[in-house]
C-alpha cells in the first residue's frame, strides 16, 4: 500500500486524539477526489484552486489549510490516483483460464475504462505531458508509468503463459505499444465517442498476438 500521507504537506500539529490524523487524511482525500474531478474536466492548465473549491463543498481557503500549495495538492492527487488505476486488470489476469479468455477480458475492461473514466485518462496524458516541463511532477509521473508498465507486463506474461509461449518484446516496449494505442483512443474519444471504443479493441486485438512468439 502506498502511503500517500507522507507527502510534503504542511502537516499542522496533530491533535492528540487518534481519529484526528485520520480525519485530516479523509479531508485530504475528499479534496483530492473533488480536485481530480475538476482536473479531469478542465485539464491541468485550466484548473485553478478556486475552481476546485467551487466544484466542491469547501471554500478556497480550505485547500490551503490542507495543502501547502498547488503543486502539493496536484502531487497528492496524482499519488492518490495512482493507487486506484494500476490494479484494474488484476482480476481478469487471475481468473482467466485461457489466452482467449484473458484477451477478451482485457479488451472489454480496457474499453470499459476508456468510456467510463475518460476524464481521468485525459488528465493522465495531460499530466505526463506537463511533467516534461514541470520537474516537480516527474517523480510522481514516473512512478505511475512504472506501475502501468508492470500492469501491462503481468497481462502479457500471463497471456504468453496461457498460450504456451513467451513475450516477444520487453516490458517497456510492450507498455509503450499498448499505451500508444490507448492514448490514440482517448484522443479520438473526444471527437468520436461512439467509434473510438470499437476501434481500440479491434486494434489491440490485432496487436496482442504479435507481442508473443507464435506458439
Amino acid at each position: 500500500m502506498v502511503r500517500v500521507s507522507s507527502a510534503s504537506a504542511a502537516e499542522p500539529s496533530r491533535p492528540a486524539r487518534v481519529s484526528g490524523i485520520d480525519k485530516i487524511e479523509r479531508r485530504r482525500v475528499a479534496l483530492a477526489e473533488s480536485a481530480l474531478k475538476t482536473l479531469g474536466e478542465l485539464g491541468y492548465a485550466r484548473t485553478s484552486l478556486r475552481e476546485i473549491a467551487n466544484n466542491s463543498e469547501f471554500t478556497h481557503g480550505v485547500v490551503h489549510y490542507y495543502f501547502r500549495d498547488k503543486v502539493d495538492l496536484i502531487s497528492y492527487c496524482v499519488r492518490y490516483y495512482k493507487t486506484k488505476c494500476a490494479q484494474r486488470y488484476d482480476e481478469v489476469v487471475e481468473t482467466a483460464g485461457s489466452a482467449e479468455e484473458l484477451a477478451a477480458g482485457f479488451l472489454s475492461k480496457m474499453a470499459q475504462t476508456l468510456v467510463e473514466e475518460t476524464p481521468m485518462h485525459r488528465l493522465w496524458y495531460d499530466l505526463r505531458a506537463q511533467s516534461m516541463f514541470e520537474e516537480q511532477l516527474r517523480p510522481d509521473v514516473a512512478a505511475i508509468d512504472q506501475l502501468l508498465e508492470e500492469m501491462i507486463w503481468r497481462i502479457l506474461t500471463r497471456y504468453a503463459d496461457l498460450s504456451g509461449t513467451e513475450p516477444a518484446v520487453d516490458a517497456p516496449t510492450a507498455y509503450a505499444l499498448v499505451d500508444g494505442l490507448f492514448e490514440q483512443a482517448v484522443v479520438n474519444y473526444a471527437a468520436d465517442p461512439a467509434g473510438a471504443r470499437d476501434l481500440l479493441t479491434g486494434r489491440v486485438e490485432q496487436v496482442l498476438p504479435k507481442l508473443v512468439y507464435s506458439a
Copy 2:
C-alpha cells in the same frame, strides 16, 4: 502545400504593393518561429504572449498586430510546424534500396530528431493533450496526426515492399504503435537524455519486423 496564411487573423487591409502581403506573412512566420521556441521550452500552459515577445525581437503589442488573439497565434504556430515535420523521413524512404537500409535510415533519423528537436516534440505531445480540453485546437491537432500517420504508413509500406511482403497492421494502428514508442522516448529524454536515444532505436528495431508479415 498548406496555405497557412488563410487563417482567421485580423487581416489588416492589405497595401497595394505585392511585397506587402508577403512582408506581413514573413513577420507572422518570424513571430511563429519565436513563439515555437518559447512554447517548446515552457509548454503551452506556461507560455504567455509577453514571454513570447520577450524572447523575440518584438514587443508584446506586435503580437496583437499580427494575430487576433492567443489562440490565433498558437493555431498558426501549429499549422506552421505541421508543414515542417511530416516530411522528415521522405528522403530516406525514397533512397533506401533495401529493407535493412530503410530501417537503418529511419532509426537514425528518428534518433536524430529526438535529440535535436526535443522541445518541438515535447510541445507536440503537450498540444495534443491540450486539444482534449480545448476544442479550438482539435482540428489542427487532428490534421497533424493525420499527416504523421501517413508518414509512418509510407515508411511501413515501403519497408514491406522492400521485404517482399505486406503490412500486418493498418495505418492508424501502425502510427499509434510507433508513436507510443516515440512518446515514451521523449518523456524519458527529460530524465535521461543519454540513454533514451539508444533505448528508442532498440525498441523500434525490435518492433518494426512485427508490423509486416514474415516474408
